[in-house]
Point group: C2
Chain length 204, copies 2
Amino acid sequence: MGRRSDHTRVELEALFVEEGWRQLAEVGLAQFSARDVAKRIGYSIGSLYNVFQSYDGFLLALNARTLGLWASDLRARLASDETDRIASLVRGYFAFAAEYPRAWIAVYEYRVSDAGGSPGWYQALVADIIGIAAGEIAVAAPNLASAAISPLARSLIATVHGHCVFAQFGTFDLAGETELADAALARVREIIAAARATGQMVRR
Amino acid sequence: MGRRSDHTRVELEALFVEEGWRQLAEVGLAQFSARDVAKRIGYSIGSLYNVFQSYDGFLLALNARTLGLWASDLRARLASDETDRIASLVRGYFAFAAEYPRAWIAVYEYRVSDAGGSPGWYQALVADIIGIAAGEIAVAAPNLASAAISPLARSLIATVHGHCVFAQFGTFDLAGETELADAALARVREIIAAARATGQMVRR
DNA sequence: TCACACAATTGAACACTGTTCAATAAATTA
DNA sequence: TAATTTATTGAACAGTGTTCAATTGTGTGA
């Protein structure tokens, strides 16, 4: 039918991402159908490939939206709570995953088939979220050497992430979500306390 | 066609699992093809469904094999090293994942579509691995109340798991695998130290 | 105004997937 | 040997991502 001027390229991409993300959040990666997304916004599967080149490109755009929403969510929580920023961060991680579990896990489960890995603009979104955590850790453990912040941030994110995966899709137990969220926060506090103590010793 | 007595039902199931696991470990869940597995052992796709009823059943059997291999691997490492059992456990977790990354991650990524979750015999395999960890934690923190062991074991496994996921498929950074393995062990030591201190306080 | 060129859009075609099930071949029983 | 049971097959079905020649809408030049 060719409604060529119904939407600009940018509008069309936004339409695909919006509806695609809705689908991904609803049915999850395994049941996700690019064909169905195109049909729902009244375009053909061919147009989707025009805009995103490949399935990889489409899912990267959807995951990028997830990362963007997630970063905004974390920042909003940090801005509204000044009393315990570490708790806001950890609970924010869990809260976002609990609200959009299928979209959230897709960020981790979808691996780009292209050998060169994900593009720079996508890695920047990832770096943004790591940066949020690193910033708070730098505040929580001010005596830590700056070179030690980034590895510790990664390690703390890994810790929280492990708990969050089990809470959402507990292959390993039926432990309640709150137990694991509380456990994650307790672990983070212990780790930061240990880091502060170590940093104290190393400081000269 | 119709080599009905070439293999017993049990032998046939073993054949499917053996070749299926090989495939899973080689190409991963996304590229896995049940048809191809059947073809490779010289049977038809129909026979695979005869034995396992469904795709779910087949993948459950493959993941069960992974869990069994994993538990044996961990026990062997613990048996051969008496000096630092916690380190053996953490490094064992990483080593198995590094040796069979695709089969290992399939345990976490494949979610049974059937409501009601995985069957009891499968959950027993999971409980076995948790039990290995819980046993070592009980030794490492002997003053801990027995009711506190199991939640702590889950939390420690979650911690190690988070680090291991990032090491194998680091969506979040390019941190070397060794960095994350070392970090995981450091976190576990800090957490156990904290648990010992807390247990000491609570003890009466 | 009209024809031409350009580019967006389509959907059939392809090779694949899991799943089902009537037909078939082999073994067991009568 | 004849009848019955049962393991095994593979074509058929509905779905997937992917490609690409054909079509259609738009804008430009004469």
